[in-house]
């Protein structure tokens, strides 16, 4: 830029440069001509390519051609989808699946707009929107969230007992020290430091934040930040980008606490971080409960139990359900709710305690898509996910848990609602 300007400025003052000026005039004309030619070629090329792309997509779905199922959305679902796609194509070589890792929000909006066959999202589409747009929430796997901490002096094999109330209070600034009486009461025998707790959150909008804020909101009536994939936080809470960033950030932050997806368990453990056993709201010393048995680790059994509990609140036909704290009718946001089945509510029945911070990974599909013949491949793919896709060969690699038989039953029923044609 500078050089060009300088050259021009100098040309101004070269009073004797007639020949030079003429040649530059010619080259300018040539350059302009070239630019126009390139523009026309580019436009023509664009039209041709665009026409080809459009025609090939509209004629797609023929039996001989390879059909492509498109998926976009949650970066948490992406690794699973990347395994499911090729697995499905082995059985159906004429169909391939192209997944994109964009984000749950993109997954939802793309599914609503109908620009993809499947939208992946960690948070269900709310029932109203799902009904309006005739979209189906299709639970495809179970995931869980862990509460990690970086606590020097406490071995990472010791799992602190925490619950939603205490965690919500920490993230609201109502509990600031590790040796707060509420934490100490739930952890007899653990010598807790008097250092300030650093609550870490996700800076990017994420389903993890959605889950976590739901848990806080449902657990403690003092939680004022609502729930959602992005919310307001207290000023003293640092933030990191992505689950990987949370692991790095927490391992750099002594006396920090963070919520991280179970897929990152091995990474976080390798970084020396410990994770909490979570209790339900009755296992809360604030309400007099200190029963250590009510704090459970995120084992597959405890997670599946929570998922089954949540099922009774599942809202057909949208299949939207929060599994936080063993389930909640979708849309209910009013304070702590105790559900039957949670450890201790009915002392006469020995219910196990569910792990409370559990989520379903949803795939959103159109109930009545425009291209009915194409949709049959999508339905085939989803049926495959419900059967072969639930095996450990696919899910273990990404630390998801298989759907419980009851959820698979709901899924099969909801697939009956989808319009297809041969």
């Amino acid at each position: 830029m500078t050089n060009a300007q300088t050259a021009q400025g100098t040309q101004d003052d070269l009073s004797g440069g007639t020949i030079r000026r003429k040649s530059s005039m010619m080259s300018k004309g040539a350059a302009a001509g070239l630019a126009i030619v390139l523009l026309i070629v580019g436009l023509a090329g664009g039209v041709v390519v665009g026409k080809y792309v459009l025609s090939s997509s509209s004629s797609g779905g023929g039996s001989s051609a390879v059909t492509s199922i498109t998926e976009t959305g949650s970066s948490l679902i992406f690794p699973a989808m990347s395994l499911w796609g090729p697995g499905f194509s082995k059985l159906y070589p004429n169909v391939n699946v192209t997944p994109q890792s964009t984000g749950s929000g993109t997954g939802q909006s793309s599914a609503e707009a109908g620009t993809v066959d499947i939208g992946g999202t960690d948070v269900w589409l709310n029932t109203t929107t799902a009904t309006q747009d005739t979209l189906l929430n299709f639970p495809s796997a179970i995931s869980a969230q862990l509460i990690f901490y970086n606590l020097p002096g406490v071995s990472s094999s010791t799992h602190l007992n925490l619950n939603g109330t205490v965690i919500a209070m920490i993230y609201s600034g109502a509990i600031t020290k590790w040796n707060d009486p509420l934490i100490q009461a739930a952890n007899p025998g653990v010598s807790l430091p008097s250092n300030t707790i650093v609550p870490i959150h996700r800076s990017d909008g994420s389903g993890d934040t959605g889950m976590f804020s739901s848990m806080c909101e449902l657990s403690w009536s003092g939680w004022t930040f609502g729930h959602g994939t992005t919310i307001q936080w207290i000023a003293s809470s640092p933030s990191y980008n992505g689950n990987g960033g949370m692991v790095t950030g927490l391992s750099n932050t002594q006396y920090g606490i963070a919520y991280i997806g179970i897929s990152y368990l091995s990474q976080a453990s390798a970084a020396g971080l410990g994770y909490a056993a979570l209790g339900d709201n009755l296992a809360n010393s604030a309400t007099g409960g200190t029963d250590a048995a009510n704090y459970v680790l995120p084992t597959s059994q405890n997670i599946a139990y929570d998922a089954n509990l949540g099922l009774q609140y599942l809202a057909p036909p949208s299949l939207a359900v929060s599994l936080i704290l063993g389930g909640d009718v979708v849309g209910t946001t009013n304070g702590p709710t105790i559900y039957p089945g949670e450890g201790g509510t009915n002392p006469t029945v020995a219910y196990p305690t569910p792990y409370p911070d559990v989520n379903l990974e949803y795939l959103l599909i159109q109930e009545h898509p425009k291209d009915l013949s194409h949709q049959k491949y999508v339905v085939q793919f989803l049926e495959w996910i419900l059967s072969y896709g639930q095996t450990s060969q696919y899910l273990s690699a990404v630390n998801f848990l298989p759907l419980t038989p009851a959820i698979i039953g709901y899924d099969m029923n909801s697939l009956q609602l989808v319009s297809v044609s041969n």
């Binding site: 300088t6 003052d13 523009l39 929000g105 909008g205």
Partner: protein
């Protein structure tokens, strides 16, 4: 202006122009205006996407509460992010200007020719490194170092200054304003250096010779004659550098900590307007009001960048270079 052939031809088409020449002129003008069409299209479509949503005065407040469950308490004040942008860009630019003035002066006048032939392209190459590389370098390599060494040391020595105090938890992760400023400085230096260097080179030799002939040393000539001569170019280099800094997104996003709060310390985390757009974009697809707020913030950012760049380029163009000595 007066003798420029291209401009003269474009500005008076009718006089004795053949039809062919006229169409040549017309298509030339159309092609030349393509960048303008893009700017207009971008602004117009973004304004449309914002839905003319009026957030009222709270839009300029520090109240950022994207809570989507309750629209009545939702607030989209972007003041915190404007402060984040201003602090990172302004300090990074100040540091970069000092560095690039020194570099440019050395390259043009004081380094031995072989070194200056080496230093100039190497500085330019810095500008060619993708910003994500700066980001990952800052995040993986520098952040731990800053948290363990640089930040504690600076807090210890400069902690008495306002804004330089911090608790260890504030710089625990190493990411924050100071690291963002450091990375931004490195990213801005090549641009400002190139601009200052080229202006220094375009100074007529006679000026320097006159200075030396009067008995001034090379340093005195540089300080008293050459630098005052290119004052305006230095200022415009600063503006263009600022435009680069305020729009830089990925590298800053990776190292600034992305905290949504008014920064209290240079060692704490912050968010800039540009990084906010990245971090909130996906959520915004499900929260329509948030999307509109982000679009409006993007428009503000665009207006700032465009005007800073326009002023910078205009000043650069008005340079008072005379004589053939200006060409390198």
């Amino acid at each position: 202006m007066r003798n420029q052939p291209g401009v003269a031809r474009l500005s008076n088409p009718p006089g004795g122009m053949s039809l062919r020449q006229f169409f040549q002129w017309l298509s030339g003008a159309a092609v030349a205006m393509i960048p303008l069409y893009f700017i207009i299209a971008i602004v117009a479509t973004l304004v449309y996407a914002s839905g003319f949503q009026n957030f009222g005065w709270s839009f300029f407040s520090t109240n950022w509460n994207p809570n989507p469950n309750d629209p009545s308490v939702a607030a989209y004040g972007w003041f915190d992010f404007a402060v984040g942008s201003a602090i990172t860009s302004a300090i990074a630019l100040a540091l970069a200007m000092v560095l690039s003035l020194g570099l440019a002066v050395c390259i043009v006048s004081f380094l031995p020719p072989f070194l200056s032939r080496l230093a100039a392209p190497v500085t330019d190459m810095l500008a060619g490194i993708p910003s994500v590389v700066y980001g990952i370098w800052g995040y993986v390599i520098l952040a731990p170092y800053f948290s363990k060494v640089i930040d504690p040391w600076m807090v210890g020595t400069l902690g008495f200054l306002p804004g330089f105090n911090a608790t260890p938890t504030q710089y625990a992760g190493g990411v924050g304003l100071i690291l963002a400023i450091f990375i931004l400085t490195i990213m801005v230096v090549p641009i400002t250096t190139a601009l200052v260097r080229d202006s220094l080179r375009s100074i007529p030799k006679e000026l320097e010779e006159a200075g030396l002939a009067l008995g001034a040393t090379r340093w005195e000539t540089m300080r008293r004659v050459k630098i005052p001569f290119i004052q305006r170019s230095i200022f415009s280099a600063g503006l263009l550098g600022f435009g680069r800094a305020i729009g830089e997104t990925v590298a800053v996003f990776m190292v600034i900590g992305n905290e949504v709060t008014l920064p209290t310390s240079i060692f704490g985390g912050s968010t800039t307007m540009a990084t906010l757009l990245v971090s909130q974009m996906d959520s915004a697809f499900t929260y329509p009001l948030l999307l509109k707020a982000l679009v409006e913030i993007a428009l503000v950012l665009m207006v700032i960048s465009l005007s800073v760049n326009a002023i910078g380029l205009r000043l650069l163009g008005r340079k008072t270079v005379t004589g053939p000595g200006g060409i390198e």
